[in-house]
Amino acid sequence: MHTVEVSHIAKAFGRTQAVADVSFTVDGGEIFGLLGPNGAGKTTTIRIMLDIFKADGGTVSVLDGAMTEEKKNRIGYMPEERGLYQDISLERCLVYLGTLKGLSDADARRRLGAWLERFDLAAHRNKKVKELSKGMQQKAQIIAAVMHQPEVLIVDEPFASLDPVNTQMVKDLMRELRDAGTAIIMSTHQMHQVEELCDRILLINEGRDVLYGGLNDIRKQYSGHAVVVRAVGEIPKLPGVESISRHNSETKLNLADGVTPQDTLKGLLAQGAVLEKFEIAVPSLDEIFIRVVGKGGE
């Protein structure tokens, strides 16, 4: 049984089909990337998973069955629309949100102390939320999503407004939670973060699944017939190379049909090229995203 199991869900608002057919599963101990262009249906999918919206069709199973009030305490959520109570102190706000997730007042205060220390917010605990910077509020929002130790964590653009130090802190936290067995669903447009963190992804476009699976498998699937080379000096001309493109110090050699990367490597070495890097070209997630979404799905 998967921790989260979404099967062929659909949802329309009036004449707008926000989600047409989306399916995926997420297990404990993995970070799952939920990707897609703006308006693809990611937020609606998340809201259906969380039972904020009722799906018109399909089924959702979270933590072994349909969503219940009790299960809300086992889920952490940081929505795209950020918000905290502005006119109260940071501590009071987070303790309240913690108790709404099933923690006792004392437990919420105890846990919060540790989290505020970890995120360098301890000195600001008595400040009103509206007095905090955007980045601090973002960190507070992350604390609100994780302080009750959820089994499922859903984060929407978790790195927005964070500086590099805090970004690293959040990435470390997500890896830590994953290692502790939490099922994490991350929605973001920052593809390099997905490449760094996610084990598997789902790319949605126009409310439908267009790419789903392990990140490495998908990248292999989209890798072209090319190699990336960095060499000292000029790269010699080789038979079987159809075209060359340069990106900074690296050169991409697009190979003709029937020519293997091994043939190319042998050819380069035979011509005395001093190689610093030689690898089969694998597209970045950014490139795959643009190719898939640009085509309108495959």
Binding site: F13, G14, R47, L50, Y77, P79
Partner: protein, 408 residues
């Protein structure tokens, strides 16, 4: 603690610990204290308990009957001659003195000698003194009738004898009316809190977190319970202050209005039965407004429209006092939006027919139920509408999938 009570506790504390709430809470007692202070000051300035004298040349007061008892009497001193009286006046022993000439019984003419005009409590008491002594010369039946005529204490009773009004009503008699006015004030105060509480999560974008932490029923129920708690706090604190003021004013300052705070139990029960569903109905309307509108300010402006019907009966007070059973008053008693304040006015001045009170309360209860349903629907439709209103057609129409994101 269940989430319903967590939300209620949060809302309660958030409002009660605000400075503006504390000011609002203290405003009524401060006003009452100020009023009592002003009344007391006015009474102090108006009264002077220095004795007043008289010189009787007519012989009418040779063997005077004392003036009727007063709670704070002014001593009336007799002087054998005007020179003695004048000496006492110059020495400040008396406020002034009356001179009854020898032909007083024929002319009814008296002279009042003073340096500074005597206060009305002294002259009033001398008037009573003279009246008693005049009536003593009359046959008893004539004296009784004249005394009754001069006493302006006219009592108006309902046919069943349960209610009566004197020319100067007491606190107890006016309490239903005052309760109605307090109800209006509470609507004004709590309406703002309710709208703010519901719309706040939309304004600060916490609604989505809240929706994944508690059910809409827990959220909306907790908010309403919390704010009813806030209102009750106001009611209890105000009632205690008013009771204390009535006690102090009646007991120590002897303000006649405050000396009788007895209320008609039936009237009070009718009001309680009407105010409870009336308040719930209003609270639900405010919740619906908060959920329907995107911004608190916008919603609060519209909330005034819901208070307005309750103010209308107050404008028509004259008409209702004159004829509490006229058709307009009866219609306003039965119409839920005007019922609470109309009832408070009518029970002050008459025994409202039981069937009217019963139908009014039943309609109020029904309306409260409908308003709660509407509030729940508005909340579900509007909770994730950031910066966008729920339109009325959608609110009252058949459940449908709404553009912009919501479900029913």
């Amino acid at each position: 603690m269940s989430k319903l009570w967590l939300v209620a506790e949060y809302e309660y504390k958030r409002q009660v610990l605000r400075k503006r709430f504390i000011w609002a809470l203290l405003s009524v007692p401060l006003m009452v204290a100020l009023l009592i202070g002003i009344i007391y000051l006015a009474m102090s300035l108006e009264n002077d308990y220095t004795p007043i004298g008289y010189v009787d040349h007519s012989g009418m007061l040779a063997d005077p009957i004392p003036a009727p008892d007063r709670s704070k009497p002014v001593e009336i001193r007799a002087y054998p001659g005007e020179s003695e009286a004048r000496k006492a006046l110059d020495a400040g022993e008396i406020q002034g003195y009356y001179v009854l000439p020898a032909d007083y019984v024929e002319t009814n003419h008296v002279e009042l000698v003073y340096l500074k005009r005597p206060k009305s409590n002294a002259t009033g008491q001398f008037y009573d003194f003279m009246q008693v002594n005049w009536l003593a010369t009359q046959p008893p039946e004539v004296a009784h009738r004249i005394a009754a005529m001069s006493d302006d204490d006219i009592i108006v009773r309902t046919p069943d004898g349960k209610r009566e009004f004197k020319s100067e009503p007491t606190l107890g008699q006016l309490l239903p009316l005052l309760t109605g006015m307090a109800f209006l004030m509470l609507l004004g105060f709590s309406g703002g809190y309710l709208v703010q509480a519901v719309v706040e999560e939309k304004e600060n974008r916490t609604m989505e977190i809240m929706a994944t932490s508690a059910s809409p029923g827990q959220l909306i129920g907790g908010k309403v319970i919390g704010l009813i708690g806030v209102t009750l706090t106001q009611v209890v604190v105000w009632s205690l202050f008013i009771a204390a003021a009535a006690f102090v004013g009646g007991r120590f300052f002897e303000v006649p209005f405050l000396q009788d705070a007895r209320v008609d139990v039936q009237s009070f029960l009718i009001l309680l039965a009407a105010f409870l569903p009336g308040y719930i109905m209003y609270a639900a309307f405010m919740t619906a407004l908060g959920a329907t509108f995107a911004e608190a300010q916008e919603a609060q402006q519209v909330s005034g429209l819901f208070i307005l019907p309750n103010v209308v009966p107050m404008w028509l007070t004259g008409m209702i006092i004159e004829n509490p059973n006229n058709p307009i008053a009866v219609a306003m008693t039965l119409f839920p939006l005007t019922a609470p304040t109309t009832l408070s006015l009518r029970v002050t001045f008459e025994q409202v027919p039981l069937w009217q009170a019963a139908v009014s309360v039943a309609l109020l209860a029904l309306s409260a139920w409908g308003a709660v349903w509407l509030a729940g629907r508005a909340f579900r439709l509007g909770m994730l509408r950031y910066g966008k209103r729920v339109d009325l057609r959608e609110l009252f129409g058949r459940p449908k999938r709404a553009a912009g994101g919501s479900h029913v």
